[in-house]
């Protein structure tokens, strides 16, 4: 029984980018507009990764490459250990990879195709050619997961933005993907809708082991991930746990991003000569640190 103890669990890599490059064709044929340059990245199965970057940093391009909407202009991309090569892959293989890597976009309205919620969720499975009896179950399960079962017969235009986005997520869940990429899926929503969608994302990761790639520019959302990647000018500027990443304040700011407000506050207090932990990410952590400091001062007096 030694083998079990000695075996080290190696996390399965679902997405691997090796010197990945992408550039858009410009109007001048001799000139290319590089978006991504020699990017190296590995995403582990079951992880919850937040991708941060300001507009034009290449973060959305990255997502589109992973979902095979765009094809790399250089370097290698491996999805589930399979090298992506347009010339040797069949159309079926392409669509199978697309099924395994789902994508939820920014505008909920532009993702819903049917006039009834459950018909929309069924759209994906119908495209896959799944037998009728099984589609029903997939649709019901997907709506249950996003908590929208009560709205199955509604029409999309009767729903709020957050609800529509959850339907869009259900439409992807019904395809039973291994990875879901959220391309700024919370950007257009009100705070209520945003927290509902985020709760759904966390639930998918926690309860169903879905690998999540969450592209966002809300720091408060990024700190909820296991890993944060900061993309700047087509390169990875920072990569690590939220705490590690946000401790590099200068690099984060150079990438055109902000650190969470609490971290900012802690830094400001530190600059005034009061020593507090600089890596607080959530409001609770910050409040606890300040409280501890005040209590300490009281006892010292």
């Amino acid at each position: 029984m030694m083998t079990a103890e000695w075996s080290i669990t190696v996390a399965e890599i679902v997405i691997k980018a090796e010197n990945l490059c992408f550039s858009y064709e410009s109007e001048n044929p001799n000139e290319q507009l590089p978006v991504l340059e020699n990017l190296n990245l590995e995403i582990e199965k079951g992880s919850f990764v937040a991708v941060l970057g300001h507009n034009g940093s290449g973060k959305s391009t990255l997502a589109k490459l992973f979902n095979l909407i765009l094809t790399p202009t250089g370097g290698n991309l491996y999805l589930f250990g399979k090298k992506i090569d347009e010339e040797t892959m069949t159309e079926d293989e392409f669509f199978e990879l697309r099924r395994r890597i789902g994508m939820v976009f920014q505008n909920p309205d532009n993702q819903l195709v049917a006039t009834i919620v459950e018909e929309d969720v069924a759209f994906g499975p119908e495209n896959l050619g799944i037998p009728t009896e099984k589609i029903r179950k997939r649709v019901d399960d997907a709506l249950e997961i996003v908590g929208m079962t009560a709205f199955a017969k509604h029409s999309p235009h009767q729903l709020s933005g957050g609800q529509k986005q959850r339907i869009a997520i259900a439409g992807i869940i019904a395809l039973r993907p291994d990875v879901i990429i959220f391309d700024e899926s919370t950007a257009m929503l009100d705070p209520r809708g945003r927290s509902d969608v985020l709760a759904t994302i966390e639930k998918l990761n926690r309860d169903f082991g879905t690998t999540i790639l969450h592209i966002t520019h809300y720091m408060e959302e990024a700190i909820r991930a296991d890993r944060v990647i900061v993309v700047d000018k087509g390169k990875i500027a920072l990569d690590g746990t939220p705490r590690e990443v946000f401790s590099h304040v200068a690099t984060v700011k150079a990438a055109g991003l902000d650190v969470p407000q609490v971290t900012e506050l802690m830094l400001a207090i530190n600059r005034d000569g009061i020593e507090l932990p600089k890596d607080a990410l959530s409001w609770e952590e910050g409040a606890d640190a300040i409280e501890a400091y005040i209590l300490k001062r009281k006892t010292e007096k």
Partner: protein
């Protein structure tokens, strides 16, 4: 203001007519139109008329709503009636003044023609428009026409386009309202001036709307590709339409009506020669 817009003229309900299979309804509606044209004698007309009244009663839609559906064709009705009264070569003259000659045949012809148009309008709207949701109608049409796919007619594509058009009508209206408000906030005036000035005032609304629709189409296409959409081939459906006893009963009734009209035509003289 656009939020609660009803698509088409569908009245949700739970009647016998609402529950019919849309494919059967489409076929029966076509059949019914033929029936109306076949009716020649007075008793045959009476039969179709009674049956249509029965249809309205069964559908649970108020007679007033049904009469209102005639509003768009009101002018057509008046026009046909007048033409039929004044221009005809009947022999039983009822009234004559200078060049105006009104004959009994003319009046009968006018009434039958008007009645025919009314019946056509009412029966199709009650059978199809009022009691069938647009989505069911598109579905029915797609499945009914699916054999045409064999001769390379893209039935699925057309049905998909229809469904998406229906899906985006409310979104489009909402967006139009947003743009109108935005332009009003910038001082645009949509309400004063003559028709040409008003039409010109709409240009700043239509252009942003058009541009945003192209952007939407692009995004939607990408989203659909991500959900593995690759056209109609190899697709399955979650809901498959099934004929029930109800559908066969209604088909039987329409066939009986058909036979009845032919018989009545045979035994009674035609109204229009």
């Amino acid at each position: 203001m656009f939020k609660d817009i009803t698509l088409g003229q569908y009245f949700p309900g739970n009647s016998f007519l609402h529950k019919l299979d849309p494919r059967m309804k489409l076929v029966l509606a076509v059949f019914y139109i033929v029936l109306i044209f076949l009716a020649k004698s007075a008793p045959a007309y009476a039969l179709v008329f009674l049956f249509t009244v029965l249809l309205i009663a069964v559908s649970g839609i108020s007679f007033i709503t049904v009469l209102k559906s005639l509003k768009p064709i009101f002018l057509v009705l008046i026009f046909t009636t007048l033409i039929n009264i004044f221009w005809n070569n009947g022999t039983t003259v009822l009234f004559e003044w200078k060049f105006i000659v009104i004959t009994l045949e003319g009046i009968i012809r006018a009434i039958t023609m008007a009645l025919r148009i009314i019946l056509l309008m009412v029966s199709t709207s009650v059978i199809l428009m009022y009691t069938t949701s647009p989505i069911a109608l598109t579905d029915g049409l797609e499945q009914l026409l699916s054999p045409l796919a064999k001769i390379k007619i893209p039935v699925h594509t057309f049905a998909m386009m229809m469904t998406m058009a229906l899906r985006f009508i409310p979104t489009l209206l909402e967006e139009t309202q947003k743009i109108i408000n935005a332009q009003k906030a910038r001082g645009a005036d949509f309400d004063s001036g003559n028709i040409i000035t008003k039409a010109k005032a709409l240009i700043p609304v239509l252009i942003p709307l058009l541009i945003s629709q192209f952007r939407r189409a692009e995004e939607l296409a990408t989203a659909m590709e991500c959900r593995c959409y690759r056209g109609g081939g190899g697709r399955t459906r979650m809901t498959i339409l099934h004929f029930s006893v109800r559908d066969f009963i209604s088909a039987g009734l329409v066939l009986a009506l058909f036979a009845g009209i032919l018989l009545l035509n045979f035994y009674f003289p035609a109204l229009i020669k």
